[in-house]
Symmetry: C2
Subunit: 286 residues, 2 copies
Amino acid sequence: MARAVELRLLRYFVTVATERHVGRAAQRLHMTQPPLSRAIQQLETEFGAALFDRTPHGVELTRAGQVLMEDAVPLLDQADRLRLRVTRAADGAVLRLGSLADTADQAGHDLVAAFRRRQPGVEITVVETDLSDPTAGLRAGRVDLALTRTPFSDDGLAVATIRTDPVGVVVAAADPVATQESTTVAALAGRTWIRLPDGTDPVWAAYWTAADDRPHHPLARTIQECLRSAAWNGTLVIAPLSQALPGGLVCVPLADRPPSRVVLAWRASQPSPLVRSFARLVSGAS
Amino acid sequence: MARAVELRLLRYFVTVATERHVGRAAQRLHMTQPPLSRAIQQLETEFGAALFDRTPHGVELTRAGQVLMEDAVPLLDQADRLRLRVTRAADGAVLRLGSLADTADQAGHDLVAAFRRRQPGVEITVVETDLSDPTAGLRAGRVDLALTRTPFSDDGLAVATIRTDPVGVVVAAADPVATQESTTVAALAGRTWIRLPDGTDPVWAAYWTAADDRPHHPLARTIQECLRSAAWNGTLVIAPLSQALPGGLVCVPLADRPPSRVVLAWRASQPSPLVRSFARLVSGAS
DNA sequence: CGCGGGCCATACCCGTCCGGTATCAAGCCA
DNA sequence: TGGCTTGATACCGGACGGGTATGGCCCGCG
């Protein structure tokens, strides 16, 4: 006893829960009622809790059953998709697209949609990463393509520009800088900047934070953390002017930072046909 | 053959993949090597694809194996958490918190964190919903509490105000309205508003869209869709002034719309002790 | 008021499948 | 080449999943 939960039992459970009737559920599962009853009991002893209330005209979910139902359904959905994804991967028909947190925006969605139209048989996985990895898993081999921003150390990587984003510094609306038409990083010397995690691409970290590696600067992994820190602590961070900002924050253009480019990147060495095909969407379009 | 994939096999697979060695994996799984080899083969025939390349000193993942690994790990994580969640639900120690898309902000996180400190043994599930359901599953019984905004039809619901948000209309920066200090819904008569899905709470829909139920108005389910439509098509939507906006959009205060309140809502009839306890966090605080 | 029909649970049987031991085939290295 | 490693194969026993037959319960009907 106390064996691990298996998908078979969860499939049974979900069927019974939707049918609210063990007999009918058994019918739908192409089996007889008694083993199904037993399976449900197994699940109940497994969890140490009743999942159904037995009524004269069927069964109905207990509170624990409701919770299990909410968890089991998406779990089974994932498990079903799993088979399809793996078989497609085996045929080389899977493209893994890394996406830097904020870059999964309209441009990214459009690209994915365009590629799906062109090659409907190809499965596309989008993996989002935080600010600590500008190449979004591309170097580590976790993805085939990365939707990201410059600048980063790009040795061994090929890039195609999607668009160019001027950048600015994010400050609270009450900050003296906020009213200026534009400013410079130099003029902000001595202020507290956000800090990116150790090990982050140095080119990348230097661009966004004007880092002088003072360790007391607050650490952030996501844009949300950066903005929150800007709103509460008055810390500085550089962001694209197109970045969505909560009320109370403004983005003042920076004159001495070149714009950041939103790019598609991939490993330059022997790209797969799918990667080439996807990359052409960008190179051809812009 | 072609039996459904089971978690047992996936657990085996993940262990082998992390160990890169069938023998050691078998050891960690408290079993012998041959059945494990067979299990992996089963999985491979099941998917119709090789998952490992066999090398003289172990095994290494094929591309299909990598994809399966990425899917299997989170799947197993979920399955493990499942047991814990259900047992807690059985003890009445689960609180399901619905959250309207944008309301899962700082206030929400603070509330959840505060409640966790007070009652560490209680599992909290946060379910996000789109704009079509202002009560975030509260009426349907999918959640015990809802973090949402007024106004909505609140018969049978109890609410506690968290904060008050003035609202404005979101327009492109180039829109003539954008430069005004404030405006009114009346002054915007005849313009195209966003439309919320049919069946949405009428009080709610009327508040945010100044709807005159013209069916050609574009449909939106999320705030992102609203903002995108505002940026591209110049459609109007009402939003809290605190809403984060991408560059190129501004939110002009509205003089003839009362502010929206961010509230915690729950079913007024016989709330559970946990619900009362959570609600007190809000009532006591503000 | 008992009787029939619906529900789920129990009892028991059989075939399959899982995991064990023993062994084999193949690559590396001394 | 012989010993060591690796994973793969062959075969066996026990556990478990699903089958049939039946029991216990509640409802409604005659």
